[in-house]
């Protein structure tokens, strides 16, 4: 009997553990932040809850991913040479002038001379050159192979020598925070950053919170928010913290959008945080140099890919999965200056069915299409544990089922997902403030002759993107990027090769305390985190 009792208790305990480990960390940290906030003027401070993955693991060092990498945002603590404007064109931060040579191999940037680091030392072109040479040597998250080296021509002019023309270099300059040469030690800088940006790092409790304080010597407009506290907590903890009134802004998702939080409003910010699937354009049978299977017979037919793009009801997907908080996605770069409007398609199930008929896939008795005795079957992969991608995949399975394509879905871990995606459609998430993403997704690699993430190759698309990179004028390059998507005869859109089908852009949702004026956001990139506070210096309480 004792054994049985202990088992019963054990089971109960297990169940208790299942239901009870929601939020201890979040609660603890918000309590602490409250106590540490007592001595500050509440009217100029704000407490923001972000997800645990937003915490920069390697600290606030641009060389190790702060502001750069997969989730791009303004580094706040450091200044950058350029910034992206709200319409994603390029503006100046430290820079006062940018010019590139005719061959695109040299960029000359003049910088302001009135800028000081928070330790009192002036910021010079030496520091800029040092920063770029450092990130080139050490950055683990960004590609700096286009940069040969940077040098300071004089104290206010820095010259970048490139290995190849790279017209969108200003977008790279927008994410590299400038570090001081005299006070940079790669081992400690991440935890004790010195910059010249709008904020200084006051306190960082790993796993809990980051406290930023306004830089009193900032060269630009003085920040309206004196203190910004960022708490890192899980989504449910963030919701509870907002419910308890402990935070001013809390990130949330469509799951919680149906809830009512007195004293808070639900704000949805547009994003280019898209979700889409890759459709391998190569036939099955091949393998890459690691022996991984490449290609998919069903999706290698361009008519099938067009049918899928046409037969997806994106609005229904948004209503069902995102509770309406999203916008249809037609490319990896919707609304960006380099976005080609020709990517847009209207939902047309009849047209999709006609395309499948044309491709030879006839409707069988069981509602599944067949061709030469082969069933129209497709597996959709999604990353395990991501409920939004899982639900999008489930919705897509249902929608493609209506077209007569029998789909199954399978959750995979990121350890195997990249390899599997070479032969099987995977639910991806992209969206960045640089056209380089088009290049990364659609351009072929030199050694394999096919694109990196999903088998695809189109020499015209390749050439147009190379021209765009080689272009000496940024404005002109936008047009070339657009042509790479669709130039009137070929491209990656519906009438072109359509190697990826884009589904939705996910709105980034936040609970915002009433009275807090969040400044106008630029379209958020992939990553539901620091982008929100890009302009926290302009927020205010009313």
């Amino acid at each position: 009997m004792r054994k049985f009792l202990s088992l019963l208790l054990g089971a109960a305990l297990l169940l208790g553990a299942f239901s009870g480990c929601g939020s201890p960390r979040g609660e603890a940290s918000s309590v602490e932040s409250e106590s540490s906030l007592q001595d500050v003027d509440q009217s100029a401070s704000v407490v923001i809850a972000m997800g645990p993955t937003s915490e920069p693991e390697a600290g606030f060092d641009p060389a190790y991913g702060w502001g750069a990498g997969e989730h791009v945002h303004e580094p706040l603590i450091q200044s950058t040479l350029t910034v992206t404007n709200t319409d994603l064109t390029i503006g100046y931060d430290l820079a006062t002038g940018i010019s590139s040579s005719e061959d695109g191999l040299t960029w000359t940037v003049t910088i302001r001379e009135d800028v000081r680091f928070t330790d009192g030392e002036p910021l010079t072109a030496e520091d800029v050159a040092f920063t770029y040479n450092t990130v080139k040597a050490t950055s683990s998250v960004n590609d700096f192979t286009m940069l040969d080296h940077a040098e300071a021509a004089d104290s206010a002019t820095v010259v970048f020598h490139m290995t190849r023309p790279f017209s969108i270099w200003p977008y790279t300059m927008a994410i590299v925070g400038i570090v001081p040469e005299h006070a940079y030690d790669s081992a400690t800088y991440g935890g004790e950053p010195i910059g010249s940006g709008r904020y200084m790092l006051k306190q960082w409790d790993r796993g809990q919170q980051v406290i930023l304080e306004a830089n009193p010597d900032y060269y630009g407009e003085a920040p309206a928010m004196d203190r910004v506290t960022i708490l890192f907590m899980e989504e449910d903890a963030a919701f509870l913290a907002a419910q308890a009134g402990q935070v001013d802004v809390a990130y949330t998702s469509a799951t919680y959008s149906g809830q009512l939080l007195p004293g808070y409003t639900l704000e949805a910010y547009d994003s280019v945080d898209n979700r889409g699937i890759n459709l391998p354009t190569a036939a099955a049978g091949g393998t890459n140099e690691n022996g991984v299977a490449v290609g998919n017979d069903f999706t290698s037919d361009v008519l099938v890919r067009r049918a899928i793009n046409l037969g997806v009801d994106r609005q229904e997907m948004i209503d069902n999965v995102l509770n309406g908080y999203g916008s249809p996605a037609y490319s990896v770069c919707d609304q960006m200056p380099w976005y080609n409007l020709a990517s847009q398609v209207e939902y047309d199930p009849e047209g999709a069915a006609a395309l499948l008929e044309e491709a030879g896939w006839r409707l069988g008795e069981d509602g599944v299409r067949e061709k030469d005795g082969v069933k129209a079957e497709l597996t959709l992969l999604y990353s395990n544990g991501d409920s939004v991608r899982q639900a999008l995949a489930a919705e897509l399975v249902n929608q493609l089922g209506e077209l007569g394509i029998s789909c199954t879905m399978e959750g995979v871990g990121w350890d195997t997902a990249y390899d599997r995606a070479l032969s099987t459609p995977l639910m991806w998430g992209w969206g960045a403030h640089t056209p380089m993403e088009l290049y990364n997704i659609y351009h072929t690699q030199e050694d394999t002759g096919t694109a990196l993430y999903s088998p695809y190759a189109n020499s015209t698309v390749d050439q147009l993107m190379e021209e765009a990179l080689a272009c000496s004028d940024l404005e002109e390059s936008y047009a070339l990027w657009q042509q790479a998507q669709w130039n009137g005869s070929t491209g990656v859109t519906q009438e072109g090769d359509i190697p990826w089908v884009w589904l939705v852009n996910i709105d980034h949702l936040y609970w915002v305390r009433e009275g807090l004026q969040v400044a106008r956001q630029k379209i958020h990139p992939h990553g539901h985190g620091w982008s929100l506070v890009n302009n926290v210096d302009q927020w205010s309480w009313s």
């Binding site: 049985f4 299942f18 239901s19 999965v321 544990g385 919705e395 399978e410």
Partner: protein
């Protein structure tokens, strides 16, 4: 009033419990496909007539998912407990029958496995075998045999000095025949009870390892997966997602534990006539 025979009531309980568990297993297999169906027109429904356990955020029928998950757990439990018990029997008998360095080696091995935190061992084995279904089965099967092996070893050691075995040895019965004719039948009650009592452990560990995300992929109906998904929705008031599957899991585990106890009562010579 006629007093119901204890033996009869125990048998009756055994029959009902076994039938119930069998029914859950079968129903789960039949509902496997229904458990995967998503229908966004019926998402987030609280328990009602059409959906006894409600539906989740993708409109999946939680009743079907729970049954399919329990069924999977029971089948994994059967398989892993079977493997574990066989491993335990072989090692336990070997250890005791041969003694010497064999005993030392096996005892050391038992101590080593027992000394490793259980859930850690399951996770490590599961990852080493590529996660997924195989990972879970191997992980649970190869980590649960130790205590039963120790019990069997002790039992055999005790039996070895029993007069009837010593007599058989003096009479020249071969070692293999002694094990087959005199040892194994005596071990059967211990073995069966141990086997059944392994089920609850195996099931709970299967649930834990899938809960922690080291097992099956998340569209699969496994109790652990269901419970870990439900966590995200508890704060929004969707209590039914965790309550029913959790309670059902506890119920199945309790049933197995009771079953083991009763089987022991029936088989153990010390209590069979009570």
């Amino acid at each position: 009033m006629k007093r119901v025979n204890r033996r009869f009531s125990t048998l009756l309980f055994l029959g009902i419990a076994a039938a119930l568990l069998g029914a859950v297993t079968l129903a789960g297999i039949c509902l496997k496909d229904a458990a995967l169906v998503t229908d966004f027109s019926r998402k987030d429904l609280p328990p009602c007539q059409g959906f006894l356990f409600g539906t989740d955020w993708m409109g999946r029928d939680m009743f079907a998912r729970t049954l399919a998950g329990l069924s999977l757990s029971i089948r994994v439990g059967l398989l892993t407990a079977g493997i574990s018990a066989c491993v335990a029997l072989v090692l336990g008998v070997l250890s005791a029958a041969f003694g010497g360095w064999v005993d030392a080696l096996i005892s050391w091995w038992i101590d080593l496995v027992m000394g490793t935190p259980h859930i850690l061992l399951v996770i490590l084995l599961s990852i080493a075998c590529g996660k997924g279904f195989t990972g879970v089965v191997v992980g649970v099967a190869l980590s649960h045999w130790t205590s039963l092996a120790r019990v069997i070893r002790g039992e055999v050691l005790q039996l070895k000095t029993a007069p009837y075995l010593l007599a058989a040895e003096k009479l020249g019965v071969s070692r293999w025949n002694r094990v087959k004719l005199h040892l194994l039948p005596h071990l059967l009650p211990q073995f069966l009870t141990g086997l059944i009592l392994l089920f609850p452990h195996a099931i709970l560990h299967e649930a834990s390892v899938t809960f922690l995300g080291f097992g099956l992929s998340s569209e699969q109906p496994a109790v652990g997966v269901i419970l870990s998904e439900s966590m995200r929705y508890l704060t929004t008031g969707k209590w039914w997602l965790a309550l029913f599957p959790g309670a059902a899991l506890v119920l199945v585990v309790v049933l197995f534990a009771l079953l083991g106890e009763r089987v022991r009562l029936l088989l153990d010579p010390g209590s069979v006539h009570e």
